[in-house]
Symmetry: C2
Subunit: 284 residues, 2 copies
Amino acid sequence: MKTFHDCIPCLMRQTIQAVRQISDDEQLIERVLRSALFLASKMDYSQTPALIGREIHKLIREETVNNDPYAEIKHKANDIALAIAPAIREEILASDNPLQMAIRYSIAGNILDFALYNGWDDERFRKSLHSSRTKNIDQQQLEILQAEIEKAENILILGDNAGETVFDRLLIEQLMPKQITYAVKGYPVINDALRQDAIFAGIDKFATIIDTGLDCAGTILSMCSRAFLDIFYNADLVIAKGQANYETLFNCPRQVFFLTQIKCSVIAQDLDSNVGDWVIASTQ
Amino acid sequence: MKTFHDCIPCLMRQTIQAVRQISDDEQLIERVLRSALFLASKMDYSQTPALIGREIHKLIREETVNNDPYAEIKHKANDIALAIAPAIREEILASDNPLQMAIRYSIAGNILDFALYNGWDDERFRKSLHSSRTKNIDQQQLEILQAEIEKAENILILGDNAGETVFDRLLIEQLMPKQITYAVKGYPVINDALRQDAIFAGIDKFATIIDTGLDCAGTILSMCSRAFLDIFYNADLVIAKGQANYETLFNCPRQVFFLTQIKCSVIAQDLDSNVGDWVIASTQ
């Protein structure tokens, strides 16, 4: 997906927010914002938002001399998600269809996205979790995904955010004893999950963790390692979490199931949905 | 008020939206957006948002070779507001306190702001109107304003948006037979009311219309004409509509009553309120 013009103001907002994660020095915020505005004025918008965002977030890391501005909020998301995991696991196990309920919670966990929301919002997080049982999602797609899961022997899950990893782990528990691979990012970008976040969530007990080798949101296949691509193309089923994976894989040459919350009008339009919707979509 | 860093992404969003008012040519939108990004990267943020916005909207007008990109939406706002005016007038007249109800509707009309909202939204407009009777506003401030109005012989109202002018006219009817001056902008900027919008609303039947002489939102006193300043400083009471007037006059050397809806977090923070609130505030 190319970068829409509407993505640019959003990336400028992200820039301010990213610097605020680590500093309240208004002069620093201003310097980085000015650099980002200048950079954005001459970028190639035919690239996917993930690549545009990669350049912006690289600039932020360089100008703030901080390799991981979202480190603290990732820790917070991990801690909060882990604390509520036992109660959610119980609810999943007690439900009529534990796999479908686990899929629902995995989408619920996609609320933990700090590129699009400013800072932590306990209230929104609780609301999103609370709606997991009843939130309207395409039941037909859910059934199709369940059937694909049941058929598959090995499944690749492309993770999205730190903390969301805990919810993905609860889903992975329901996928046992299948062979699961869980992909994280290779380097810090926004609050995307890294290997350490997947391990913190206990995913290593159930799945092989790999990384894309990249420092950008989503999964840009042309830049991924050979090892990653082998797994991507040979998995029986690929489940991709979050908008950035949709943006980068919506037209890829194999079937991918996307689980995401719709967080911006650009993606809403593309998926014929509304901001706030929960979507299960597949490429083919 | 200086320009907050958060204002910059908002102005970039406005840029895209302004060009879309007159064209769906994505290449044109991109060209103007890139110019605005470049301009914003080197602007003086110690200026008020109205001045920063003025430079951006000047650029938009120049690059689109269109002197008034919001002309069509201003017409629409005028038409819709005028069509519902008789029903609202009846409601004002039938209420226990027509002046207070007219003030409420004048604030309700401030929803007609296309800098902050994308395009026309019938639903939001209807909701805003519907809440006029009961929307929570500071009753003490309302009483103070009513008392100031009753005391005043001549009143200056600083208008904000086209269409909102119709609601201001309904307020002005309740101010009769006082001597009223109604100020509009001197040149097109966003969807701010011009002389023709005030006349369309019939304000010329009740008030003297003047203009600030400026092509920027709000009222930047240091740039206003001597004629305007004479009226501004000699009025018994000044009522200023909308956020931009607050941004430019909050620390001016005379008392001003602001009537506005809170439309962004920057102003919300400054006025210790929330986005969506309706505010009556005064400088002293």
